[in-house]
């Protein structure tokens, strides 16, 4: 039995210790926004935050996340009004959309650490998340826009 906190809610999960968090989230908790792409931490579609650090859920066994706090795409805002989501909509980023949860979660981690990233910073931070549709140009624009929106928010509060 493993206790994890997902998007602020505690869950007790009875499953084999080596089960990757990805499948716990998707199949046990029905949080399907986190995607399966490769199973070897190579594409980033399964990115989540574990204690605020970007983690590839497809290779992270639940045993290593016991007692920790997990944020998935579903926990980002509860609406679509998080600045990153707004910037994504404004720039019409997604095409097929399959990788975008991973892109957004990685953006959240990037902007938390580096509120005003350069293009080079973005390339470094986002290099691990594949988008087969090729939305990279729009991702760059949307990250700059989200950065603006978030700094604006910080100033207001």
């Amino acid at each position: 039995m493993f206790e994890i906190n997902v998007n602020g809610i505690k869950h007790e999960i009875d499953i084999e210790a080596d089960t990757p968090l990805l499948w716990v989230l998707r199949e046990q908790l029905k949080l399907t926004g986190t995607k399966f792409g490769c199973g070897i931490a190579s594409c980033g579609a399964c990115s989540i935050l574990v204690d605020n650090r970007v983690t590839r859920a497809c290779v992270t066994p639940i045993s290593s996340a016991a007692g920790k706090s997990i944020t998935t795409i579903e926990g980002l805002s509860g609406s679509r009004y998080h600045p990153i989501q707004q910037a994504w909509i404004e720039n019409q980023v997604p095409q097929c959309g399959y990788c975008q949860s991973g892109q957004i979660i990685n953006t959240l981690a990037l902007l938390t650490e580096n509120p005003e990233p350069s293009n080079a910073d973005i390339d470094r931070a986002m290099q691990g998340i594949i988008c087969r549709c090729g939305t990279y140009g729009r991702i760059r624009k949307a990250i700059h826009r989200a950065s603006e929106l978030m700094m604006h928010e910080t100033q207001e509060s």
Partner: protein, 735 residues
């Protein structure tokens, strides 16, 4: 290809508990006739549904795989129905004959035809609906029809200051005569078409709520995964599942014709168990290797071939000339590598089968389920989800067939998920091909051009009648008409159009042209990969014309311009791209600019790429300027996004990935050895749309084929290295 529509339309209407269903029988469609609405056989027979609260739902009969079709088809309907796009709901269509792609006559999303095949049809349906509602209102108010108009889902009569919601008129509409004449709005009156509209699917794609096939969760559902034989053509001898069965959560292990299946409570358990299976295969051909394929290519490039385009006497002229240029080009197999691995969910019951799948082929999927279950078409329900990438892979139904075969062995709903490794190694690959090409340029004209293509045929697998012996018995009948569309009506063993498209119709002016084809199939499954034959042939043609320009010591842009003088739309995009890129302006040392232009899917695309080549062989593609002429544009921002994405897709194949074969199996298995373009490798892309009143043409594919040549030509400009094989390798760039 276009189908002329009569503006006269028969509408059949029926009022059901949930509102008005409107379908259309379009007349004068050259042998196409839509079945009249029959509420007993289809749950939603058409494209528009209006409920009693005036909620308007559009049925989208193409698959949304990122190309924005959910929005652009809704735009076509909203424009003529006079409703705000932002207020409509959309649903994906079930499988039904009325939703057949009008160009293929089978329900398939592909070939960059969604807009081209829907543009007149959907606008006509919506306009007819609007007219009927206006007529009904006029009748109720006893006023002339001409004084009434539709706006924002209401009918207005200004003189009497009356208005009615569409929903208020539903019962009256059904009493009207079904025959009406429809006139479509001129483009000058378009309020929605031609304006960039926010895509309807995007909000759900930023919060994780968009439902893909892999996200389907049903009560009591189990999850399956499959192990296919690594070597193509192998047969199962036996398997030992004792270790696999010890995994907690495993429910069953059995074989189906294509492999061994593990069914478990969840994917992880199934995958873990599958990896413990000890399977013995009766191996297929283990002698196939990339190197042996290359040797065979060489042989076929010398032997007999079929002439697919011949005028003048290219052979004699090339033999006689002293300034003939000849080159050999090679392209590898390519995987689709959609981010969402193949998957399909099936709930099979005695009298009913429900299938949830991200598919580009509802028609073929429907047929395969009917054939495997023996159920009637009406008992099989295909539910289309969002597609996590398609690129042609999801037009295949292999994984749908497997999911049904698995469901037939267990009593509960089942979701089949392929691992990434299975997805990579059991694709239908873009054919590898080998090209020998010669030309001569003299006295300001292209004297002769000869191009021989060696490669495996897609249509031999897809089209019944090609080689019936190897066709699965469930091959969808609809594919026959699809094949006929691809082949221009003549299904021929000899000249597969998917191998010669983009080479056969050379736009450069010459009196002596010879294009030849030699089929060579080493047995690796091949299929439709975004832009199909164009993806290879444009690279070859556009690189070689560049070689000829340099040999003639002419500017590659002006050289093309001169030889394309009879092709205004080619010239339109060529000139626009060159101008916007600042063709001819200085670049820093080590950088170069390359240009390419190509016509495919009835659209025209030119690109200028700027690259930097470093002596040790490092390449960066810095900037791509692209011009596209795709006729009338429905949603400009979507066209721009598709072009950006197409450039990334083509660039991946140009500089990153390839599929190779070793001992009969695919060597690559995941993204570590089949690398895809990453954000740090993405050039800045500028897209320019040519304004046009021509009918709309393809958008999703036409920008793919151009980029490899534009980049290769830029590399030559930067470094004097001529790239003749893809993907571009470091050793080909090193000084």
């Amino acid at each position: 290809m276009s189908i002329k529509l009569s503006r006269r339309t028969f509408l059949t209407l029926s009022l059901s508990a949930t509102g008005l269903y409107i379908g259309a029988k379009l007349l004068g469609t050259k042998g196409l006739s839509y079945p009249l609405i029959d509420a007993k056989t289809f749950h939603a027979n058409a494209w528009i549904r209006i409920d009693k609260n005036n909620n308007i739902t559009f049925i989208i009969d193409k698959s949304e795989m990122g190309q924005g079709v959910q929005t652009s088809l809704a735009m076509l309907l909203a424009e003529e129905l006079e409703v705000d796009l932002e207020t409509v709901r959309t649903e994906f269509a079930p499988a039904a004959p009325i939703y057949a792609n009008r160009l293929f006559q089978v329900q398939v999303t592909g070939g960059s035809t969604s807009i081209e095949s829907s543009y007149d049809n959907l606008r006509t349906v919506a306009a007819a609906t609007r007219i009927l509602l206006i007529q009904a209102a006029a009748k109720q108010w006893h006023v002339p029809v001409a004084e009434c108009y539709a706006k924002q889902a209401q009918i207005f009569h200004d003189v009497s200051q009356q208005s009615l919601y569409y929903s208020d008129l539903l019962s009256q509409v059904t009493q009207e005569s079904p025959e009406i004449a429809v006139t479509l709005k001129p483009s000058s009156e378009h309020k929605i078409i031609g304006k960039s509209k926010a895509r309807l699917d995007i909000p759900a794609k930023v919060d994780g709520s968009a439902l893909f096939g892999i996200d389907i969760m049903l009560d009591k559902m189990l999850t399956a995964t499959i192990k296919h034989p690594p070597v193509f053509g192998s047969e199962l001898l036996n398997f030992d599942d004792s270790a696999a069965r010890s995994i907690r959560g495993v429910q069953d292990i059995f074989s189906i014709p294509s492999g061994v299946v593990v069914v478990a409570d969840g994917y992880w358990q199934a995958k873990k168990a599958a990896d413990l299976l000890r399977i013995q295969w009766l191996q297929g051909n283990t002698e196939i290797n990339s190197a042996s394929i290359q040797r065979s290519w060489f042989g076929h490039s010398k032997g007999d071939a079929n002439s697919v385009e011949s005028r003048g006497d290219a052979e004699t002229i090339l033999d006689a000339t002293s300034n003939k240029l000849t080159a050999v080009y090679e392209l590898p197999y390519q995987a689709h590598a959609t981010m969402e691995p193949m998957n399909c969910t099936v709930h099979l019951q005695p009298e009913r089968c429900d299938v949830w799948v991200g598919t580009q082929g509802q028609g073929p999927s429907h047929e395969v389920v009917v054939a495997l279950t023996g159920l009637a078409h009406e008992q099989v329900h295909i539910h289309t989800t969002y597609l996590g990438g398609g690129f042609g892979r999801r037009g295949e139904v292999d994984f749908v067939a497997e999911a049904v075969q698995i469901a037939q062995q267990i009593d509960v709903p089942v979701k089949l998920i392929w691992s990434r490794e299975e997805d990579m190694q059991h694709d239908f690959y873009r054919p590898a091909s080998y090209h020998v090409i010669s030309g001569s340029f003299q006295d300001a004209s292209l004297q002769a051009w000869k191009h021989r293509i060696v490669g495996p045929s897609i249509m031999q697998r897809v089209a019944p009648g090609f080689v019936p012996a190897v066709m699965p018995q469930w091959l969808p009948t609809g594919l026959k008409s699809f094949a006929a569309w691809v082949t221009g009506g003549v299904i021929s063993m000899i000249n597969d159009p998917t191998l010669i498209e983009g080479a056969k119709e050379l736009p450069y002016k010459t009196d002596n042209l010879e294009v030849e084809l030699s089929h060579y199939d080493p047995g690796i499954p091949v299929g439709f990969w975004r832009s199909v034959g164009h993806s290879s042939n444009a690279f070859v043609v556009e690189s070689f014309i560049d070689e000829m320009a340099h040999q003639a010591q002419q500017d590659p842009y002006l050289f093309r311009q001169h030889l394309l003088r009879d092709h205004p739309r080619h010239l339109g995009v060529l000139n626009l791209a060159a101008e916007k890129a600042g063709w001819g302006s200085e670049l820093p040392p080590g950088e170069g600019r390359g240009i390419a232009v190509h016509h495919s899917f009835n659209s025209y695309v030119a690109q200028v790429a700027e690259v930097r080549v470093i002596d040790n062989g490092r390449l960066s593609v810095n900037r791509v300027v692209c011009a596209i002429d795709c006729g009338t544009v429905i949603n400009p921002d979507t066209v721009i996004a598709q072009v950006e994405g197409a450039i990334a897709f083509g660039l991946t194949a140009a500089i990153k990935s390839a599929i190779s074969i070793k001992d009969g199996h695919i060597e690559q298995s995941n993204f570590h050895d089949f690398p895809l373009l990453r954000i740090d490798e993405m050039p800045s892309v500028e897209v320019y749309l040519v304004e046009s009143k021509q009918p709309p043409t393809g958008v999703g594919e036409p920008a793919v084929p151009v980029i490899a040549a534009a980049v290769a030509n830029a590399i030559f400009a930067a470094s004097n290295k001529r790239i003749r094989r893809l993907p571009i390798r470091t050793e080909d760039l090193r000084k």
